[in-house]
Each structure stands twice: as C-alpha cells, then as structure tokens.
C-alpha cells in the first residue's frame, strides 16, 4: 500500500471513529447503563456487527457499480417501489436531525442556561452555513476529528474500574431483569441509533463523490471494520460509565442535564467540559451528515443533480432539500419538545423502518449486475437479515408499550 493510500485509509478510519457517536448513541447507551447496568452491552455489539457489514456493503456497491445506494435501488426496483420507503426515511431523518440540533442546543443550554428553544434557530443557521460553504471532505474530516474527544468516555470507563466479569456477562444476550417494556424499548433504540440508514446513504454517496473504484475495496473493508469497531467502543464507554456512576445510585436518565455530570467522577474538572464538548460536536457533525444524506437520498430518488462538492447553484434542489431539513429540524426544537424523549423515539422509529431500507439493499449487493464477482457472503447476509428483522419487530411492539408506560 502506498504512503498516500495509507494516509487516506488512516484518515477514513479516524473519521469513522470520530463520527460514530451522536446524540442517539449517547442517549440510548446512557439510558441502558443507568437502567440496566451492563445487561444491554450485547445489543451495541450485535448492532455494530450489523453496521460493519452494511457500511462495507454500501461502499462496495458504490465502488463497483459506480452508483450510490438510493440511485441503485431506484434503478433496480423502479420509482414507484422506491418512493414511499424513501419518504418515510426522510420523515425519520427530520426527527433525528431535530434531535441532533436539540443536542447542540442542550450543550449550549447547559453552559449558558439559555433555553433550547432560543438556541434552535441560531444553531440551524450555523449548520446551514457550514453545509452551504463547506466541501464534503472538509466537513467530514473537521467534525469527525473534533468528535475524537468522545474517547473521553472510554478513558473514563477505564478509570472507573468496572467489574470485568459483569462487563463480559453483558456481552451475552440476556432477558430483562425488570421492566421488560423499557428494556426492549432501549434495546431497539440502541439498534436504531447504531444502524442508522442515513449513514449508508452518506457513506455510499461519499464514495461516489470521492470516485472510488474496485481498488478502494480493501480500504473500504478496513474502514468499515476498524472505524465502526473502534467507534463502537465509544458507545460501550458511555454505557459503562453510566452503569458505574448512575445505576448503583438508582439514577434514571430523564434528561440530558443529568448526563452532564457523568464524566466528572472519573475525570474531575475535565469531565464536565468534555461531556458538553462531545455532545455539541457529535450532534453538530451528525446533523450535517443527516442533512446531506437526506439531500443525497432525495436527489438520487428523484434523479436530480446531487453533489456537496459542486456549487449550490448547480444543484438547487439538492441545496433546497438540506435547507428545508435543517430549518425543519430547528423549528421542531423551537416547540419545546423534550430532546431526550424525541431522541429515544426517533431512534426506535429508525429501527421500525430499517427493513424497508435494508432488504432492497441486501438484494442489490447480491446482484451480479451491480457488484459483479464482489457479491456478499452468506455470513454478512444472514447477520444483517436477522438483526434488522428482529430489531424492527421488537420496535413495533416496544414503542406502544413504552408509550403506555411513559418513558
């Protein structure tokens, strides 16, 4: 491997690690740790395994077929089949971006005391300027490298000396020790936050923008495995820290404000600024990715010009979409909705719509016409199929149960 390729690969892996944690993973992992100790660690691991396969598949599809995911789905299955699942996805993206904007606003609220609703539009405006002015590479690298501060959760987890036997036991699937509805609701929310469809659209569209070809397959695989694998450690870090700091005291995470103190017992004075910084940067980065992924998704579904690297005037509908999504998300946050509840439900809803996104995708990465000899193996197909289907079914049952119980 040439030095330049190695540098690109390293940057790709760092980007994946830094971009892994966002408001969804943070909230769901923290809630899991506080309510059920280490019992839901296995869900993070299984979901990440599924994500690794899916990210690798979306990069491979783009590199070999020269088509981004939504583009290939429309071409293979037709517009009518594609349009309803895509619109559902856009709706879920709108809720998720609202939650991410809410995360940035909350970080600002925690520092200043000024309410979330006041911050929503200014945060949306800054977000929009970044997407409007920035190039894909700059946006990806800057937010993800800043996002590396989330390593603080892994360091804190290490410093808190969790019981290794209990941690290992958490990696084995188990049933709920109490409150089954809440247990499974958090489990599907973790799955929804980890296996986020916007990530595949963003990744495969990025691969097209960066002109990947079959030579990129090795770096694609390594980015998926190492980037997502190490990224998963951040979520595990959040869960462990929450399990050690909150669970023994009976603290349930009802608001992000409670979470802000979680790093302090391990990291002292650094804990609070690192938490607030991680929340702001991760949510901002994820919001940028969701805005772009939604534009890619609609651009490819409706056959518009789509590229973050070209001037907004050359892709007016692409630019209009991210503008609408960003300000739509910001407007939702001005209504005073609870950002934590919005996050948890949008993540569970993501799990509900997963099969509509993943099943056509699975068929494509097994279609010789698109991927030639680079078809998926049976292990990847089986893991993805089972995890997605099970997560979706549990989500359909768990959401009304959680609504009935009141989160």
């Amino acid at each position: 491997m040439k030095r330049k390729d190695l540098l690109n690969l390293t940057l790709g892996i760092i980007t994946s690690i830094g971009g892994f944690l966002e408001v969804g993973s943070m909230a769901t992992s923290a809630a899991a740790g506080a309510d059920f100790g280490y019992k839901l660690l296995w869900v993070i691991v299984f979901s990440t395994l599924c994500l690794i396969f899916l990210i690798e598949m979306s990069g491979r599809l783009a590199a070999v077929s020269k088509r981004a995911l939504a583009d290939a789905v429309r071409e293979r299955f037709g517009f009518v089949f594609t349009v309803i699942p895509r619109l559902l996805e856009v709706l879920v993206n709108l809720l998720v971006i609202a939650a991410e904007i809410g995360g940035v606003c909350l970080a600002l609220k925690i520092i200043t005391g000024v309410p979330v609703a006041v911050w929503a539009i200014p945060v949306g405006l800054v977000l929009w300027i970044v997407v409007w002015v920035g190039t894909l590479e700059w946006i990806e690298n800057t937010t993800a490298i800043l996002g590396l501060m989330t390593i603080a959760f892994v360091i804190a987890a290490w410093k808190l000396h969790p019981d290794p036997h209990e941690v290992l036991r958490g990696l084995i699937p188990s049933r709920s020790p109490h409150d089954a509805a809440r247990f499974w609701f958090i489990a599907v929310s973790i799955a929804g936050s980890t296996i986020s469809p916007y990530m595949f659209h963003f990744y495969s569209s990025g691969a097209i923008e960066e002109e990947w070809d079959e030579k990129s397959l090795t770096s694609n695989r390594m980015t998926a495995i190492l980037g997502m694998g190490f990224g998963c450690l951040m979520s595990i870090g959040v869960l462990i820290v929450s399990a050690v700091v909150f669970a023994p005291k009976g603290i349930h995470v009802d608001s992000y404000e409670q979470l802000a103190v979680v790093l302090s017992p391990a990291l002292g004075r650094w804990g609070f600024p690192l938490f607030v910084g991680s929340l702001a940067v991760c949510c901002f980065g994820a919001a940028v990715e969701i805005a772009l992924a939604t534009s890619y998704l609609l651009g490819q579904t409706f056959g518009w010009n789509w590229s973050e690297n070209s001037e907004p005037t050359k892709g007016a509908r692409f630019a209009l979409t991210y503008t609408a999504v960003i300000f739509g998300g910001a407007l939702i946050m001005t209504t005073g909705l609870d950002p934590l509840k919005l996050t948890m439900f949008s993540m569970a809803l993501t799990a509900v719509i997963l099969p509509t996104v993943i099943m056509p995708f699975l068929l494509l990465v097994n279609d010789e016409h698109y991927v030639g000899e680079h078809r998926s193996g049976w292990i990847g197909n089986t893991v993805v199929f089972i995890v997605v289907l099970v997560a979706s079914i549990i989500a359909i049952v768990a959401i009304p149960l959680e609504l009935a119980g009141g989160s």
Partner: protein, 103 residues
C-alpha cells in the same frame, strides 16, 4: 381469498394488542417513588461534584430547577399515596434550595 382473510385477522390482532398495551398504564405511585429517588441521587451527585469544583454553579442550578419541575408535574397525579407525596415534596424542597443557592 383465504390468505387475505388471514392477513386481515393478523392485522386486527396486532391492532388489538397495541391498543391493549396502550391502555394499561404503569402505577403512578411507583413511578413517582422511582423518580424521587433518582432525582435525590442526582442532586447529591451534582452537589458532591460542585464541592470538588468539577461542575459550574449555573449547571447545578439547572439540575435543581429540572428536578423540581419534573417532580411537581408527577405530583399532579391524584393516584399518588401520601407517603410518596411527602417523599417527593422533600426532594422538591432540596432541589429548590439548590437552585436558589446556585444563583
């Protein structure tokens, strides 16, 4: 035809299940007990960290206000037992003290 009828029945069963689960609400008293304990522990943790200068006063004040607001909302439920109500009131008083002290 038989397959379609089967599908309709399945959908009906799912709908009934969803409505039934939505109808059975958790015990409000038990929920408030849990919330009161959770907020009391949160306030203790936050105060401990404030004493070590790990968290700013503005943040501590926000947690106090949030605890008080959240518990007061839950106290509005008429199904709450008097002893649980007293427990929650005590946490609200502590939370109010903290939020006033953080000014």
């Amino acid at each position: 035809m038989a397959e379609r009828r089967c599908l309709v029945r399945g959908a009906e069963a799912l709908l009934v299940f969803v409505l039934l689960t939505a109808a059975c609400n958790k015990d409000a008293d038990e929920e408030l007990q849990k919330s009161a304990r959770s907020w009391r522990s949160t306030l203790e943790l936050v105060q401990r960290e404030q004493a070590k200068h790990s968290v700013p006063a503005k943040y501590v004040k926000q947690v106090g206000e949030l605890a008080s607001k959240s518990l007061e909302k839950e106290l509005k439920n008429p199904d709450v037992k008097p002893e649980t109500r007293r427990e929650a009131q005590a946490v609200i008083t502590a939370a109010n003290k903290i939020s006033e002290g953080g000014k």
